[in-house]
């Protein structure tokens, strides 16, 4: 019993129990999860299964680093904005490859985005060992980016950076876009029923899906830029502990709602920092966090029959398998 209390205490102290754990650990981890969760929610709402947020994040990180390394000093805030914009553009372009493959050759985005993750990871490995490696050529990483291109800290003596504000803004903007704009409505309609969107709405579904994927990639790329400008200040291989994959669960758990993503991202960040605390202080393997995350997802999926994007994919696979051919005539 005392062992269990010890574990629970380690979890608590690692995640929320101390100001530094909460502010420098959990909140900092929640930032990329939230932004990536929004990216994935946008794609899934459009019926596009973007599994490549991890790769898009890495491309965003690469682009932001390149800008951060080369931007002339004295640009100030503009240098930072340039770096983040470069991250978003790179992520969008990376997703654009999958969008193009889908539009031109009918390649399923599930496959292409997964494959592009590996390409992105290997590209990053190559860059930090080759063209972008730090001058001493000892470590597989880049030099630190210029001071001016780093995100300011929100609280001094913590690691909490201004990316938090960007995450909140991205989430609110995505919600507003989906709920209030004609383009957001088209995106939701195309995802909820491609046939009705095309026929009743006269919506160009292929075009909407392609742009949704590019937008999703751009948001994921922005998350990569923020990670470099706010946390790592440099590019190296293990920049992301699989944020792009955890974010799929974050988005699904939030039922693809951009505002709810903020809550689930914080929850998942808590699981992860808590699990790290358990490992450090109580010797419990941190993979427990994965178990907790999986349980949370299963509970939500079991409770809610309204995950329209997920249900849609189940329905269509069932229809593909096809049982008896349907009666065409009464």
């Amino acid at each position: 019993m005392s062992d269990l209390a010890l574990v629970a205490e380690a979890f608590w102290r690692g995640s929320l129990g101390t100001t530094s754990a909460l502010v420098s650990g959990t909140l900092v981890r929640a930032i990329p999860l939230a932004i990536l969760g929004v990216a994935i929610a946008i794609a899934f709402r459009a019926g596009v299964f973007n599994i490549g947020a991890e790769g898009q994040l890495l491309l965003g990180a690469i682009a932001a680093t390149v800008v951060g390394l080369h931007v002339p000093a004295g640009l100030g805030m503009a240098g930072l904005l340039l770096a983040l914009a470069a991250g978003a553009v790179a992520g969008g372009a990376w997703a654009g490859i999958a969008a193009l493959l889908r539009a031109r050759f009918g390649v399923l985005e599930v496959i292409s985005t997964i494959m592009l993750n590996f390409v992105a990871l290997n590209l990053l490995s190559f860059l930090v060992r080759g063209p972008l490696q730090e001058p001493t050529r000892v470590y597989p990483q880049t030099e630190a980016i210029a001071e001016g291109t780093r995100l300011p800290l929100l609280l001094s003596d913590t690691r909490l950076h201004a990316g938090l504000i960007i995450a909140l803004a991205v989430s609110v903007a995505a919600w507003w876009f989906l709920a209030r704009t004609a383009a957001g409505f088209r995106l939701r309609a195309a995802g909820a029923s491609a046939t009705a969107a095309a026929s009743a709405g006269q919506i160009d579904v292929a075009r909407v899906s392609a742009w949704a994927l590019v937008a999703s990639g751009a948001i994921a790329g922005l998350a990569g830029g923020i990670e470099v400008a706010g946390v790592t200040y440099a590019l190296y291989e293990n920049l992301s502990p699989g944020y792009g994959f955890a974010a799929i669960a974050v988005a699904v758990l939030a039922r693809l709602h951009p505002l709810a993503v903020l809550g689930t991202a914080f929850l998942f960040a808590t699981f992860e920092t808590g699990a790290l605390g358990m490992q450090r202080d109580a010797g419990v393997p941190s993979v427990v966090a994965s178990v907790l995350e999986a349980v949370a997802i299963l509970l939500v999926v079991a409770w809610s029959g309204r995950l329209s994007a997920i249900r849609w994919s189940w329905r269509s696979t069932r229809a593909d398998r096809g049982g008896a051919p349907a009666a065409s005539e009464a």
Partner: protein, 485 residues
């Protein structure tokens, strides 16, 4: 022709078969007897119950009452396809059920048991092919086969399982005239060798060319049954389309206005890039209700899609107005998004062209007004459309498409699945739209509905669009639909 003497069982015998779908009687006390070694044509218009009857015989559908005998053996109510196959019956569906990515041999093996031995299946294919005279390349992928070969493969599948009775559901719907001739010849030869065929069709000429016996269904009941030699096209045409009772309402007071649609020598290709409509020339005017009559597979679906502005013409000239309303046949797939609420579904119309922001309070106000005006039973405009009944869903579609005065309304089976009251309501709305100045183009599988609504009737037969002169009358329209004029 071999008369079924004592001791020789009919290949298929159905007695007093009744089937209801949600209270609606699709089949009522149907008797049919198919003699072994004969070709039996099963005729009737769309929705007469032909396919349902044959699905019951094949074990795909359960009957509510009646008996089914296959080669003299009684089959239980819950008999399965496996039982039917064991009784040496095979069915080829109107929509072929092949797996495109599998080869001919693999498709043939589907549904078998135990290990898949390609060599054995290939030799079975070879044997059945040479016995039947139907040739298909064994290594080809099913998706690379032409329609004719796909159909052959379906027949070979049935034959390789030992089928002596073949049920062919609308086998000629997808075939070209010369291919139809070949198929009918093959059917005759198959019967000569002792096989039995039930040919489900609504094409009279084919039926009479190939069949020994004919059974006609109308609204789920047998209205004619006898030898093919004892009847002719005209008589059968009258049995399939009898004189209707006088329609309650009529569209007679409508007088045509300006030209809205101008079609000159329009040719339409379907999704598989085959011609579906050839050389169509016609005008549609304001204040008109054009009824489109056709049997399934004639090209009318493609024509309606093009008139609704949702499909391009292949060649020819077509002038359409910019804003066209559409009431599609499949409301839950094409007209509505079931998970969206009523207001969102109202906003869906023409969403492709909208810019900027959406004002949801305004949309909800419009939706609420439509709910009021069209008497749609719902708690609120913010509940998902899937919670509404079919009739109320259709009211919503009609309400949305007629919210503004449009120059052209295209409707495909606008009353499918609706009860009489809801259907009358939809008819009334179509007439009102025409009275307000819209051109209405409506197709229904029910010829009576087309005639009740139309001020002018266009018939599509085998891709050719023609007007039935002088308003037509039921018999003339029926003959034109079957290509027997």
């Amino acid at each position: 022709m071999t008369p079924s003497g004592s001791g020789v069982h009919a290949a298929l015998e159905m007695r007093g078969v009744t089937k209801r779908f949600a209270g609606f009687a699709a089949l009522q006390e149907v008797d049919i007897s198919v003699r072994a070694g004969s070709v039996h044509a099963l005729l009737g218009e769309n929705g007469a119950g032909k396919t349902t009857l044959m699905r019951i015989a094949y074990g795909l559908e359960r009957r509510d009452a009646g008996n089914v005998f296959l080669f003299g053996r009684a089959l239980g109510v819950a008999h399965s396809v496996r039982d039917a196959v064991r009784a040496e019956v095979g069915m080829v569906h109107q929509h072929l059920s092949l797996v495109g990515n599998l080869s001919v041999v693999e498709n043939l093996a589907l549904g078998g048991r135990g290990r898949f031995r390609p060599g054995e299946v290939a030799s079975t294919l070879e044997r059945v092919s040479s016995e039947s005279g139907l040739r298909v390349h064994p290594a080809a992928l099913a998706r690379d086969l032409g329609v004719v070969e796909q159909q052959r493969l379906e027949i070979l599948k049935a034959l390789s399982r030992g089928a002596r009775l073949l049920i062919l559901d609308e086998p000629t719907a997808v075939l070209a005239p010369s291919e139809i001739r070949d198929l009918l010849q093959w059917i005759r030869a198959f019967a000569k060798r002792g096989g039995t065929v039930v040919l489900v069709t609504h094409k009279l000429r084919e039926a009479l060319a190939a069949a020994d016996d004919v059974t006609v269904l109308r609204r789920g009941s047998v209205v004619y049954s006898g030898g093919a030699a004892a009847t002719n096209e005209e008589e059968l045409g009258r049995t399939i389309f009898p004189k209707p009772p006088a329609a309650a309402a009529s569209s007679e007071q409508l007088r045509p206005g300006d030209v809205v649609v101008r079609a000159r020598d329009v040719t339409i290709h379907n999704a598989r890039d085959r011609p579906s409509v050839r050389g169509a020339t016609f005008d549609v005017h304001r204040n008109e209700i054009i009824g489109v009559a056709a049997v399934e597979g004639s090209g009318h679906r493609e024509l309606l899609r093009v008139l609704s502005g949702r499909w391009p013409v292949h060649s020819g000239e077509l002038e359409l107005p910019a804003d066209i309303s559409l009431i599609p046949a499949d409301r839950l797939r094409e007209a509505l998004i079931p998970s969206f609420d009523l207001a969102e579904n109202v906003a869906l119309r023409a969403a492709g062209a909208r810019r900027g922001l959406l004002s949801w309070p305004a949309v909800r106000g419009r939706a609420a007004a439509l709910v009021e005006q069209f008497a749609i039973a719902t708690r609120s405009v913010r509940v998902p459309v899937r919670t509404l009944s079919g009739g109320n869903q259709q009211r919503l579609v009609v309400a949305r498409e007629l919210e503004h005065d449009v120059p052209l309304l295209v409707a495909d089976n606008p009353t499918r699945g609706l009860d009489l009251r809801a259907a009358m309501f939809v008819h009334e709305q179509l007439r009102r739209a025409a009275a307000r100045g819209a051109a209405v183009v409506v197709h229904s599988s029910d010829v009576d509905e087309v005639l009740a609504l139309a001020t002018r009737v266009l018939v599509v037969f085998d891709g050719v669009v023609s007007e039935v002169p002088g308003g037509g009358g039921r018999e003339a329209v029926g003959r034109a639909m079957l290509g027997t004029t």
